[in-house]
């Protein structure tokens, strides 16, 4: 009892950082629960991933089989059901990623496991696990308790913590795939790479980012004016690119680009975690938002709590004046 299992995530030949992040959290939890950590890896030709994971966990259980060359929620589910029934961990962690959200809820239903999604922290209180998650896009937190019997299941938010340095030499155990045949009802076809546009915002030094607060396409003229004054490239939140104010390759965040400019000016962006994840590498962040509780201010270096329509034009004017 007290063991914490983590599903390692990988895609297109690379292990994903969320795996190490979860194992870092799992190690702390297992220590408190008096158990050990196990990384579960499903793939094909993934010996090197198993070795990497052994640096973060007490044990690596892995299936190396051509059936798992590419992620497929249905195949993963079948294997995880077997493994969870066999090993009965206290807690099973899956990344709250596009892979994890496509898998965990169905697994929870099939196994009737107590399940909490998008957990960003787990504490142990009186020997019991207490997962914490957010509501209302980060404006409220909620503490949870599991009812009923372990194993418990969570999806764990990416980048909630920094992965520790590898410090373990876990035992590596290769197991036969409990799944013997391919399945028909869901099939992986191919990956398509993200579109590339005229400007590569991952290389931009100065970025002005717009969000839903800009309201309408026609207000982009005002933003472009500001951008011209400081030679900035334009980018935006998902809301801005969905609305068509900017092309999709200008979207910043988990499902868009990760940027690392010298200066990032966020205008009318609330700061959803999917957006913030993409801007953490910015040297200086300026946020303009009229909601003082907007989560964007938690990562900002300069906060302007006000109406962007009053601030932006004046800022452009002053910048032009100062820069001649």
């Amino acid at each position: 009892m007290g063991d914490v299992f983590v599903l390692a995530e990988h895609r297109q030949g690379a292990l994903r950082e969320v795996s190490q992040e979860m194992l870092t959290k799992a190690s702390a939890l297992a220590a408190e629960l008096g158990g050990s950590t196990v990384a579960v890896l499903l793939g094909s030709g993934v010996d090197s991933f198993a070795e990497t994971l052994a640096g973060y966990s007490d044990k690596v259980l892995y299936v190396d089989d051509p059936l798992f060359a590419d992620y497929n929620s249905e195949k993963y589910q079948k294997v995880l059901v077997e493994l969870i029934n066999q090993y009965k961990p206290e807690l099973f962690m899956i990344g709250h990623t596009t892979q994890g959200v496509d898998l965990a809820p169905a697994l929870a239903v099939e196994m009737k496991m107590p399940f909490i999604a998008d957990v960003f922290d787990v504490q142990v209180a009186d020997g019991k696990l207490q997962p914490i998650r957010q509501y209302y896009q980060g404006k409220v937190n909620a503490n949870f308790a599991f009812k009923g019997e372990a194993p418990y299941l969570i999806t764990f938010r990416e980048a909630s913590l920094e992965a520790a340095e590898p410090s373990k030499e876990g035992q590596i155990e290769k197991i036969d795939s409990p799944l013997k045949e391919d399945i028909e009802y869901r099939r992986f076809v191919e990956y398509l790479e993200a579109e590339v546009g005229d400007v590569d915002i991952t290389q931009s030094e100065i970025l002005i980012a717009v969000g839903r607060g800009v309201k309408e396409d026609k207000n982009m003229a005002m933003i472009e004016e500001l951008a011209a004054a400081i030679n900035a490239d334009l980018c935006g939140s998902r809301a801005a690119t969905d609305a068509g104010w900017l092309p999709h390759d200008r979207q910043v965040g988990t499902s868009g680009k990760t940027v690392k400019p010298k200066l990032y000016i966020a205008i009318g962006i609330s700061g959803a975690f999917q957006h913030i994840a993409g801007i953490k590498g910015s040297k200086t962040i300026v946020a303009i938002n009229r909601d003082p509780d907007a989560p964007i201010f938690t990562v900002a270096d300069f906060a302007i709590v006000d109406d962007l329509f009053k601030v932006v034009p004046k800022m452009a004017e002053k910048l032009k004046e100062l820069r001649g």
Binding site: D102, A106, F144, A239, K257, T284, V305
Partner: protein, 262 residues
């Protein structure tokens, strides 16, 4: 194609102050304005586009209070044929697995090819209901989908992954697809449609109508317990620029130029 589309009524809290209510387990929503969940709006459009291309029907399902009817009628005005609203406070709608059970019960026993949900609700943000719903119905799914290609007895779903990479998967029908924002351009409801929508069927259902018991979908039957809601401490190290809007603009502009931030 017979399609069900699940839509949720959610508050717009992007600029609202959110306060925990006296129970400590909910928020005071008396001052919020509500509308259809973002991703669900795209799901409705996708369902209607599929109907326009392939024929068939679109049935709207919403679990929520009578106030949700306005939003349901809008979906009907855009091309939905009929609607069901599950309205029963005994259901623990804060647990996505319980919600999925109730939504599944409304669908079970009927003929269908496709169920569309949003990929995430703006208020609870579990990103779980659709995939749980698929398992409840015993059918395959694809989550976070930004393109649906309908083929014979199956679909090709383009799943949007981190970094904007697309994973194309083939899923046999019937299936559940969770729709990501940006998949299409949601239309405005036409005036004529709004008038017609008033005459379309909107059934209101309680758990008894769904053959569910309170033990199955109520708080007591939930395997998780929400202990408390609280407002997180906002740890901001930002320098707050003070003054009238114009002053703030000038101060910030000066800092950018003189502070060597450009």
């Amino acid at each position: 194609m017979k399609t069900f589309v699940c839509i949720k009524r959610v508050p717009d809290t992007s600029e609202a102050e959110v306060k925990v209510d006296a129970t400590g387990k909910d928020v005071d929503s008396s001052k919020f304005s509500f509308d259809i969940n973002d991703a669900d709006n795209y799901a409705v459009e996708e369902a209607v586009l599929i109907k326009e291309a392939k024929g068939g029907t679109v049935q709207v399902i919403c679990m929520g209070p009578a106030d949700a009817d306005v939003m349901i009628r809008m979906a009907l005005a855009k091309g939905g044929d009929s609607a069901m609203r599950i309205d029963d406070p005994r259901i623990n709608a804060r647990d996505p697995l319980q919600s999925a059970k109730a939504l599944a019960a409304a669908i079970k026993g009927q003929e269908f090819d496709l169920v569309l949900t949003g990929c995430m609700s703006n208020d609870d943000g579990n990103m779980s209901t659709g995939v749980a719903l698929a398992e409840e119905l015993g059918i395959p799914h694809a989550a976070m989908v930004k393109k649906v290609e309908v083929e014979d007895g199956k679909i090709k779903a383009h799943r949007e992954l981190e970094g904007g990479v697309i994973e194309v998967v083939e899923v046999t029908l019937p299936a559940v697809v969770t729709i990501q924002t940006g998949i299409n351009e949601p239309r405005y409801a036409p005036i004529r449609g709004i008038r017609q929508a008033q005459k379309k069927e909107l059934k209101v259902l309680k758990i008894e109508d769904l053959n569910l018991s309170e033990e199955e979908v109520g708080a007591a039957g939930s395997l998780i317990e929400m202990k408390e809601f609280y407002i997180p401490e906002v740890v901001s190290t930002a320098e707050i620029i003070e003054g009238e809007p114009e002053e703030k603009a000038e101060i910030m502009a000066t800092k950018l130029v003189k502070g060597g931030l450009l």
